[in-house]
């Protein structure tokens, strides 16, 4: 997971203008996540309270967690794709322990703010909740 965080930070550091940064973010979301993933777009996966719709689903396999996501807005899709990329394949304990604010490091935290409009906070909270639930059920 540390390497994936480094990779994201390194990739985004190549872009200075907002156009390039957002272009990369949007492309990242479109390349990583499936287009109109119908099975994922269910009410139970929906993160409530965001301006755009965000669906996030978590599955466990061999003690690792895997995340699947979609959004109807391009920027939000890019944001959630970064989350999926970083946390998928990590253990629940690793996810809870990881405190790097990647969105701050790539310069998007300040721009998009951790508010309800893009739901970034809620996406990260859901990832953390998935990890906590996994550990709880494991016991």
């Amino acid at each position: 997971m540390k390497n994936r965080i480094k990779q994201i930070i390194s990739d985004f550091s190549l872009f200075e203008s907002w156009e390039d940064k957002y272009e990369h973010l949007i492309e990242f979301g479109q390349e990583l996540l499936e287009v109109d993933n119908k099975s994922l777009r269910s009410d139970s996966n929906l993160i409530h309270g965001c301006q755009s719709k965000v669906w996030l689903f978590c599955r466990a396999e061999n003690k690792k967690l895997y995340f699947y996501a979609d959004s109807d807005a391009l920027i939000t899709k890019g944001l959630v794709a970064i989350i999926v990329f970083i946390y998928s394949g990590a253990s629940a304990a690793e996810i809870i322990k990881e405190k790097t604010d990647v969105f701050l490091s790539i310069g998007l935290r300040k721009k998009l703010s951790m508010n309800r409009s893009n739901g970034l906070d809620m996406m990260l909270e859901k990832v953390n909740d998935c990890a906590l639930n996994y550990l709880k059920n494991e016991k």
Binding site: Y22, E23, Q51, S52, A73, L74, I75, S117
Partner: protein, 410 residues
């Protein structure tokens, strides 16, 4: 009087626009809150630095002076909205508290099981949810005021929903999404037959059109201070005197009592019986300054200037391909809600912000209107007296640039 067509002069009255880079932004989110003129800001600052005291209590000069200042805002609001007396004005924290106050006092006393509260299906959440709550508590029902496709009251169908069972009608004066106004006068006349009280949410009206509650004939009217150049956490509620008398208090505590015993208490006279506790004194005094600021505006010139901006906005928005504008007739305020085909409103607003254009997106606290329009949200650009022709051009230029950028990806 201010010359509104001289935008540069108007902007000089607002410190926000003189504060370096921020002033360079195109601020088109005035329906959310307006900026504050220096007269309002310095009035609040002066109060805290030189005049700070509680009100309605101290017998010393400072306290009496603060009371006078606070009460003078009530008088200014009475004159501003044309009520019969200042006693009909309750000073509140804003429109939301005002709606809740009426729902929890008038509603609690007069809305009984089986009764109906009529609410339009195009209301801000603040003018819907408090009615839902009291209707549920009292076993009453919420029903819709019929609205036409053009987003105005359908007066042809209105009679069919009016009856003795209807105990209140709640509607906005000017829409927070479209800037369109409703014909409140005609609605009041239509309700007379069944003596149905009319509650008007005027949150978006005061900084754009002249309000006169006596001419409108409504029974309740509310607004927020921060949407008309005043401080946040301030507002006012007009209640016709006949209801003032009958309505029980909203909150209880200090200031609103006449006699307090250990087992029982009696209330002071209205409007103070609705103002328990220490209010936002400095804010209300600042609101008085905002009202003075508005009273220095020629409303005919205001209508003319805002109409000029609206016509320009409409013309320029029409140049953007696949743009759908919602409710663009009978505009009382230069508020524009739109979507662009295949582009998400959130993406548009986020990237407009990157280009220094500040607008709102989402359901705009009006999900029922979104349902009515069959959309899940939109972009809203809302203008005010300090916005200029140049800003309209900058906004359109940024919008076209963002649309082009996002179109590459869809």
């Amino acid at each position: 009087m201010m010359d509104l067509f001289d935008t540069a002069q108007t902007r000089k009255l607002f410190p926000y626009f003189c504060s370096g880079n921020r002033g360079a932004n195109v601020y088109f989110d005035n329906a959310a809150t307006t900026h504050k003129p220096s007269s309002v800001i310095s009035r609040i600052s002066d109060f805290y630095t030189q005049e700070n005291s509680n009100i309605h209590r101290g017998v010393y000069e400072l306290g009496m002076s603060a009371t006078d200042q606070y009460e003078s805002t009530r008088k200014l609001i009475h004159e501003f909205i044309g009520s019969n007396s200042a006693k009909e004005i309750v000073l509140t924290s804003g429109a939301t508290e005002s709606v809740n106050l009426v729902a929890q006092t008038y509603g609690k006393k007069f809305v009984k099981k089986g009764d109906i509260i009529l609410v339009s299906p195009i209301e801000h959440h603040a003018n819907l949810i408090p009615w839902q709550v009291i209707a549920k508590e009292n076993g009453a029902k919420i029903k819709e005021i019929p609205i036409s496709k053009d987003l105005t009251i359908n007066f042809d169908e209105l009679d069919s929903v009016l009856s003795e069972k209807v105990k209140l009608i709640a509607i906005n004066h000017v829409s927070n999404v479209t800037g369109m106004s409703q014909d409140i006068g005609l609605l009041v006349k239509s309700c007379k037959k069944f003596k149905i009280p009319v509650f008007v949410d005027g949150a978006q009206a005061g900084s754009h059109i002249k309000i006169n509650v006596s001419e409108l004939g409504c029974d309740f009217y509310c607004f927020s201070g921060h949407k008309l150049f005043g401080p946040t956490g301030t507002g006012a509620l007009f209640i016709k005197e006949e209801f003032m008398r009958e309505m029980p208090p909203y909150k209880t505590g200090g200031q609103m009592v006449s006699k307090v015993g250990f087992q029982d208490s009696t209330w002071t006279d209205y409007p103070l019986k609705f103002e328990a506790g220490t209010p936002n004194i400095a804010g209300i005094i600042g609101l008085g300054e905002a009202i003075k600021f508005i009273q220095n505006i020629d409303f005919q010139q205001l209508a003319s200037y805002e109409n000029y901006l609206s016509v320009l906005m409409t013309e320029k928005l029409a140049e953007v391909p696949f743009l759908e504008l919602y409710g663009n007739s009978k505009k009382a305020a230069p508020i524009f809600a739109f979507n662009i085909k295949n582009i998400h409103h959130y993406d548009l607003a986020a990237l407009l912000s990157e280009n220094g254009v500040l607008v709102r997106s989402g359901h705009l606290c009006n999900q029922s209107l979104m349902d009515f329009l069959n959309i899940d949200g939109c972009v809203r650009a809302s203008l005010s007296i300090y916005n200029s022709e140049e800003e309209v051009y900058n906004f359109i230029q940024a919008l076209k640039k963002v649309v082009k950028f996002l179109s590459k990806s869809v």
